[in-house]
């Protein structure tokens, strides 16, 4: 499957998403669909740095939350339309990603992870104290009028998320196949060796950080319109940090389809479990799935599929993970 195949698939997906807004009258479909697509973007974005380069971002929720509040602030101040909010969030996300990277990416990977944990707390504290966007008390968002070519708001947001999914996956796919991806994989396998053989490691990591941050913030931006409510505790909540990581690992980090599969599978399971059994058990399922997959299927779903011969690809070799010392 080269790029033509990919674009045909993507176009088909978008057309279906748009058509569904007219055909599907049950809005719950869009609520669930939106959340699933949101996690596809987050997991794909996480994987660009975490999967390809092996640098673990624990602060996905920091980026997501910043996206949410960039949108809230711009909407409240200038009533900026949604596409511009998303664009602005992406710019802020790039800056935030690169800045965090500059501070810590010279160090071993685990320090980057810890810095991202700190980032969540610092940014959340900042938003809590920022009265303009509602502060700790949260803010209710009154949606602006709906563009005429969409029948419902939920449908429109679903399509927006679908567009972001296509962008995120296309970017991830490009990165994976390009010199950036090759460099990032070299970093993951042995950073020192990569550095010695002339791979511009810091620059590559910063690029990955910027891209990943931009995508995470961008998908945060439509969220206040979906929730019609924003509150720091929810925008920065832990599941936004853990789930993308878990989804990428469960799906498989070596190939761009991995995070997509992982996100669809895990978010569907979680949503299903939390409305059927109980959310304690959905948390337990997440824990058990994480442990089982990292132990029994280190290549994730993609690895499993490959093993049974259902999934073939020549572009990416199975990752040869060797300790680069956390």
């Amino acid at each position: 499957m080269r790029w033509t195949g990919f674009w045909i698939g993507a176009a088909l997906f978008l057309v279906l998403a748009y058509a569904s807004t007219f055909m599907v009258t049950n809005t719950f479909f869009f609520f669930v669909g939106y959340v699933m697509l949101q996690f596809v973007v987050l997991a794909t974005a996480w994987n660009i740095l975490g999967g390809y380069a092996g640098y673990v971002n624990f602060g996905t929720s920091a980026f997501f939350g910043v996206g949410v509040y960039t949108a809230v602030a711009l909407f409240k101040a200038f009533a900026l339309p949604l596409p511009l909010q998303i664009l602005a969030a992406a710019v802020v996300g790039t800056a935030l990603g690169v800045a965090t990277g500059m501070m810590t990416l010279r160090l071993r990977g685990i320090f980057y992870s810890i810095a991202t944990v700190a980032l969540v707390i610092i940014l959340e504290t900042f938003v809590v104290n920022w009265k303009f966007v509602g502060g700790a008390a949260g803010i209710q968002i009154v949606r602006p009028s709906l563009p005429s070519f969409f029948p419902t708001y939920e449908g429109m947001l679903f399509v927006v998320a679908a567009v972001l999914v296509v962008i995120a996956v296309a970017v991830a796919r490009y990165v994976e196949g390009s010199w950036i991806g090759r460099g990032l994989r070299a970093i993951r396998d042995d950073e020192l060796a990569a550095e010695c053989s002339g791979v511009p490691t810091l620059r590559l990591k910063l690029i990955a950080c910027g891209i990943s941050g931009a995508l995470m913030c961008a998908i945060g931006a439509p969220n206040p319109m979906y929730q019609q409510f924003a509150i720091p505790g929810a925008a920065f909540e832990l599941p936004y940090s853990v789930s993308p990581l878990a989804m990428a690992l469960i799906g498989g980090t070596a190939h761009w389809i991995g995070p997509v599969l992982g996100a669809l599978l895990l978010s569907a399971t979680q949503q299903y479990l939390s409305v059927t059994i109980s959310s304690e058990l959905s948390l337990l399922a997440l824990g058990v799935m994480l442990v089982l997959f990292v132990i029994a299927a280190p290549e994730g779903l993609v690895g499993l599929l490959r093993k049974v011969g259902l999934f073939k690809t020549g572009t990416v070799r199975p990752s040869n993970e060797k300790g680069k010392g956390t």
Binding site: T27, F29, F31, T125, G138, Q227, T276, I277, S278, S279
Partner: protein
Amino acid sequence: MSKIKVTRRTAVQMTGAAAVATGTTFGPQMASAQQGPVKIGLSMPQTGGLAAGGRASLLGIEVWKDDINAKGGLLGRKVELVVYDDQSSATTTPAIYSKLLDVDKVDLLFAPYATVPTGPIMPLVKQRDLLLMGNFSFQVNQTVKHDKWFNIAPWGPADSWGRSFIEIGEKAGAQSIAFLAADQEFAQNLVKLAKGVADEKKMKTVFEQNYPPNTVEFSAIIRALRGARADMVFVCSYPPDSAGILRAVNEIGIGENVKIFGGGMVGLQFTAVMESMGSLLNGVINFNSWLPEPSMYFEGTKEFFAKYQPRAVAAKVDPLGYYLAPYGYAQGQLIEQAVASVKSLDHKAIAGYLRSNTHKTIVGSIKFAADGEWEKTGTVQAQFRGVKDKDIEQFRGPGKQVILSPADRKTGEPIIPFEKARKG
């Protein structure tokens, strides 16, 4: 535990997003043509920070459900609850309420316990013009201004909560006030309104601090509070912090000036917390919604607790259930009375009935104002007295929490200053 599972059994019909895509259009008129059970849908925090309250509230609603079904149900149909866990989060509720409406096709909606999970549902019900019975959220209807919102919480007019506390202090001769509030939504709204009342009464604010969630240690904050020498201290805090604050007050002291202390501490209403705090509670004047004082018993109140308490012990939820559970029951009573009177499940008709009548419930009579809050506050301010350590039984009878306000519920006078009351 088993109680919760029963209510969830109804939820297993969900067969994934693909299957629901075939659903039909859903209008505001939710009158079901078929004569199945009357479905009441809600989410409830059963895990996460609000779970302790959520589980007690849910049990109160379930006691009502069993009562009404024993009486033959609503309009001759059995009542069934469809309940999901929102994990105390605002993130989950929009999808849950969409599922309740579009997939489960519930006839009536109850809101989840507390402000945070309720926040995102308000625009949703406004857009679809649906009746929503609130459950202890605070000021969630102020932006949306939905006319079919009825909050089953005694808060009443927005500033009456802070006002009742400040007036007790004023009567005791207080001229300055200190505010200590959690950096979270409800506490922030409450403290803002209380500040307004203090300004109106020309009371001097000598201390004002917000503290962040997950604060471990309050010694320094209480030390600073002591240094401020306020005449009264208004505290808006959340469960784990309320305990931490009281401990620090006991250890560090807040000075002889303070006449009254408390007001908006969430957590001290829960039995587990009261039991573990024991004598540290003495002297604190705090809000509550129901207490075993003679002025709080109405028709059916005693019977309710007789049914609730054994079930609560079995289900490992709040064994006394004073704060939230009776309101869960009252929520059901309101629906029961409205449906019996308008003889349909039509949201507009029910809302019209609820708006224009006074309703008798196990928590007293309720009349709603235009914004869906109570016309007159039912929030009591009560002072802990003579509480002993490690004794849950002491809270069953009157006298441990003497009601100081409002006037029609009053069962005693405050002991001041706080330091003196603490020893009593």
